[in-house]
Symmetry: C2
Subunit: 254 residues, 2 copies
DNA sequence: GTACACCTTCACGTTGCGTCAATGTCAAAT
DNA sequence: ATTTGACATTGACGCAACGTGAAGGTGTAC
């Protein structure tokens, strides 16, 4: 099967301009040019384009993709690993920023105003990180990837990030639950929101969510005094309230 | 305090070119121009720049930022909260990307090379996801932000991504543990790696990690038959082996 | 006085295409 | 046979958010 630009474009969901651009930049050349100067693509080009689009979806630059798909002996996995580590770095940055924004929110709400230096501290930290990233990238390019070190730091960042999220979620649950408790109604919107948040929280932990298990855990909060103590810390009765909310949420009013 | 371009640039960690660009596009004008044509910024500009940079970090366009910061009837905390939620969104996106990249890596490394159909399948799925995302964006643009719906879908995706990660980690634990169990030595490198993975796993769940609690959980795996059943499913004795490994890992051989 | 760091404006380069513009080609309907 | 409409082609400009010079004026320290 042979395709013109538009046919191939429609097949793959990209524009003809994009195909011409890929031709221009030697990323994907047509199989041949017909007598009228039309670009004609064949099956091999379809496959290659698929590969290209795949990498593009992963966020690699076209230049990078060119290296991967044009060089058959190129180590795609290594490239992906590098890309992954870049993505993880990016996420780490994001986490820092989120922390900064949250700090700002609370400090603004708390009324304490920051000095100029403090205001920019977060950004400076970010810049430093950027530099380290840049530096790290150069090192990697020079010496290849020290897999152990890299993956170690990756994992550390990952769990740190996730950990932050879980903590945040836990805080959200606590505040929502406290609000909801005031209504006294475990079927209220707020209480149901708390139950939903709680579900999200346990989903970090459980490989699979089931209503039964969720409801069971709610009961456990009442039965197990360690949990009860945790939830009733501020307001006695909160654990039972949460259990009720969960029972309603899960429809497990057994 | 008054600043020239470079002084403000150093304070805020951005280039003088950027400041000039912001001036040019009417995003941030200097307080005044001195007799030699130098841009002079004051305290108000420092504050405004800080705001600008916060929004810039979000990935908001400068045009959008201009609208926000030039509008005096503007709720800073609310904006920051929106900010924050967008950052979380962004991280969710990143997590999805990372998960995709990792899936690709592991499937390639797993030696099981994908057929074209399978490759295309993943790609198509990704496209569908993108479309849905796009669709969602359009909806939001049309109807403003239906806060509830939005946060729901956000959280859903987020937990989905995280959930994938946790699942992966759980699988890693299982396989590493199975390997380690063969050695019979809970102090072996493999067993310790399993304990480490296990630590990472529980850190998704626990707000704070403590060796004591970790070791305690290990003991619980032996004491609580539900857990024992889970871990001993393939190899009886695995739960106890994991407990021992954790005890060594945490140094809690009490 | 001169070196040197700083300031200014002007203007081109970057990525990954979208979007004209001007022109050529092909198949079908008139 | 011609006209129409949908294709194709090659430029070339534009976008965002600056980086990176060039060419020249200013401030200050030795």
């Amino acid at each position: 099967m042979e395709y013109t630009v538009q046919k191939l474009g429609k097949l793959s969901g990209i524009s003809s301009r994009t195909l011409r651009y890929y031709d221009e930049m030697d990323l994907l050349k047509p199989a041949r040019i017909n007598s009228s100067g039309y670009r004609i693509y064949g099956q091999a080009e379809v496959n290659k384009l698929q590969q290209i689009l795949f990498y593009r979806e992963l966020g690699l630059s076209l230049e990078h993709i060119k290296q991967i798909v044009s060089n058959p002996s190129f180590d795609g996995v290594k490239a992906l690993n590098e890309h992954r580590s870049q993505l993880l770095d990016k996420r780490k940055q994001l986490d820092l920023l989120i922390a900064n924004v949250e700090k700002t929110i609370s400090s603004v709400e708390g009324g304490c105003n920051m000095t100029n230096d403090e205001k920019f501290e977060g950004f400076k930290q970010k810049m430093i990180d950027d530099n380290e990233q840049q530096y790290g990238k150069e090192i990697r390019e020079k010496y290849g990837d020290d897999t152990v070190n890299q993956s170690n730091s990756k994992v550390k960042n990952m769990t740190q990030a996730q950990h932050d999220e879980v903590t945040k979620l836990a805080n959200e649950i606590a505040s929502t639950l406290a609000e909801a408790f005031k209504t006294g109604n475990p079927a209220s919107d707020l209480a149901q929101k708390a139950a939903d948040l709680h579900k999200q929280w346990i989903m970090y932990y459980w490989p699979k969510y089931s209503k039964e298990a969720h409801a069971g855990l709610g009961q456990m909060y009442v039965d197990d005094e360690r949990f009860t103590a945790y939830y009733d810390k501020e307001q006695p009765g909160t654990a039972a309230f949460l259990r009720d909310a969960i029972q309603i949420y899960t429809g497990m009013k057994s």
